[in-house]
Amino acid sequence: MSDIPPSLVVAEAADRVQFDVYGLPVRASWRRRGLRLLRQHPLGAFGLFVALFVIFLAAFGPLLTTDPAAVSAEILAGPSGEHWFGTDRLGRDYFARVIAGARLSMSLALGAMLIGVSAALVLGMVSAYAKGAVDLLLQRVIDMMLAFPGLVLLLLLAQVIGRGWQSVALGMGIIFSVSMVRIIRASTLSTLAESYVEAARIVGASPYRILWRHVLPNMGPPLLIYVTTLLGAAILFEGALSFLGLGVPPPEPSWGRMLTEARTLWKYPHLSIFPGVAMTIAVLGFNLVGDSIRDILDPRLRGLT
């Protein structure tokens, strides 16, 4: 430090921190803090870019492509100017189908996440608040479900609730909620021990009000860590289910099913590469965002799993 002129040090610091009239540091604007976070987590920034791009394609992509179900005489053509990703064995444009697959994947992932998060919030908070027998019973049920490997449990659920969009979303939602209930319960327990919750109880707030107004707002950080990672996991689960022939039935284009259909057609590598790479990029994007969020919110977990 000694060989740097003091004026430069001050200038550098002043670039980052601003002071108010009392000489106290001013909290940087949201925009500035966001940019700083992106700069500190380049991988997360990259992941965020990819994730937003996938979401954009899922939302608006199908408007920009041709009809993914339109059959043509050009069967199994390789990538060309007209068909960017080539065509499949019915002559359907593969680019349009991969984009449509993004829509299916993302909508299922969002649906599953919403179901999973709301179920986990209700179960976790009620379990922690109720204590006693309810808590014990709920936690044992969760233990039981955690004893199954995720994909295997999903296969079991697919058997019970059937196929189709809603069933797949529900099945994944159940798996996600099982993995989150414990974290929600633990955070609820620690919030319930706070003195402001005790104060609320003393002035006569109902359990519903305590959970809604005092506990729920504290659930943001632990949930945020999970949510993005779960979106990546959902894309993966949907792909696996469809690949095994247990996902959303045709005609809806799905990355997993496209991979199954390509399996006997090894001479046409574009059939498996494009959906495979699309799935990989999407999962990678959400996982990178999830990792960075976890690093930012909970540095103790850095490097784990």
């Binding site: 039981m144 490997p149 994909l151 090894w266």
Partner: protein, 314 residues
């Protein structure tokens, strides 16, 4: 140590029993009459009734469960509706190829992931670190069945080095068997290898910052001795738990990779069961899978307790 073992095993047994109850109940919730599925829709009601009687479907649920549990303890999981043989026999046949794949994948993960993590952790920012980061980045996104498909495309179709799909028993022709095993092994193990590499890297970097490592260096030990005897031993203890927990993911990963490579095994069997609505088969397989999962996790805990005495008390 004794009470720790007892407590841990009692917990494990309880989990398996509860999970078997859950599987049993869920299987009964599935719409559709299994007896009707077995005899076909054009059978007479009397036939259906006879089959229901034979499968014990008319008894109360508790009795059905007790019967099933007693059978399961003797490795008798009842008849498979879709395959026409005993579920126990089917699983016995499928167990070897699956175990083979899971063990090979796990060994690959350990042999690849841990050295990579060590290399990265000892020299952050070095070549090994870049290799490890690149590898984990790619593996973080690629689903195992996509990796399998890409491997087939490159190694089997494009280069023709390895056979595309299938399996040869290892006692028939060891060299052929290994050729068939290489790609599925990588597909199953790569994810676990990445998790291990990341975890080992973090663990080593943390350990190298500890006071006792500084003490070891300060008293003039050679770097080799510091790393091998003081840092590594402590850094690898938490790896045991992570490595063991990964076995569960590996098993469920093997289910789908087996389908990619058309290998016989638990994966293909469970899919056949789900598609054929074969509830006896699924029930038996799920309980066996959960048992394996719980046993492995319990062993991991015990091992951890042996390696790190602090764990036993909490």
């Amino acid at each position: 140590m004794g009470s720790f073992l007892v407590r841990r095993f009692a917990q494990g047994i309880l989990t398996v029993v509860l999970a078997s109850v859950l599987v049993f109940l869920v299987m009964r919730l599935i719409p559709g009459d299994p007896a009707l599925l077995l005899v076909g829709t054009d059978a007479s009601p009397a036939d259906v009734e006879a089959v229901r009687e034979r499968l014990g479907l008319n008894e109360p649920l508790i009795e059905q469960y007790a019967d099933w549990l007693i059978g399961a303890l003797q490795a008798d999981f009842g008849p498979s509706i879709s395959k026409g043989t005993e579920v126990g026999t089917l699983m016995k046949v499928a167990a070897l190829p699956s175990a083979e794949l899971a063990v090979a994948g796990y060994l690959f993960a350990l042999a690849f992931g841990i050295p990579l993590g060590i290399a990265a952790g000892l020299k952050p920012g070095g070549l090994g670190d870049y290799a490890a980061t690149g590898f984990t980045m790619v593996t973080l996104g690629i689903p195992n069945f996509v990796l399998g498909i890409l491997l087939i495309w490159v190694l089997a179709v494009l280069l023709g080095w390895l056979p595309i799909t299938g399996r040869v028993a290892i006692n028939e022709d060891p060299i052929e068997a290994i050729k068939f095993l290489i790609m599925p092994m990588i597909a199953v193990g790569a994810g676990t290898a990445a998790v291990l590499a990341r975890f080992v890297r973090a663990s080593i970097m943390e350990t190298l910052n500890q006071d006792y490592v500084r003490t070891a260096r300060a008293k003039g030990l050679r770097e080799r001795a510091v790393v091998l005897r003081h840092a590594m031993r402590n850094a690898l203890i938490p790896v045991i738990t992570v490595a063991a927990l990964q076995i569960g993911f590996l098993i469920s990963g093997a289910v789908i990779v087996e389908v990619v490579f058309a290998r016989p095994g638990f994966g293909s069997l469970i899919i056949a069961g789900v598609i054929g609505r074969d509830y006896q088969l699924i029930q038996g397989m799920l309980v066996v899978l959960v048992t394996v999962f719980v046993v492995v996790n319990t062993l991991a805990d015990v091992l951890y307790g042996v390696a790190d005495p602090r764990i036993r008390v909490s």
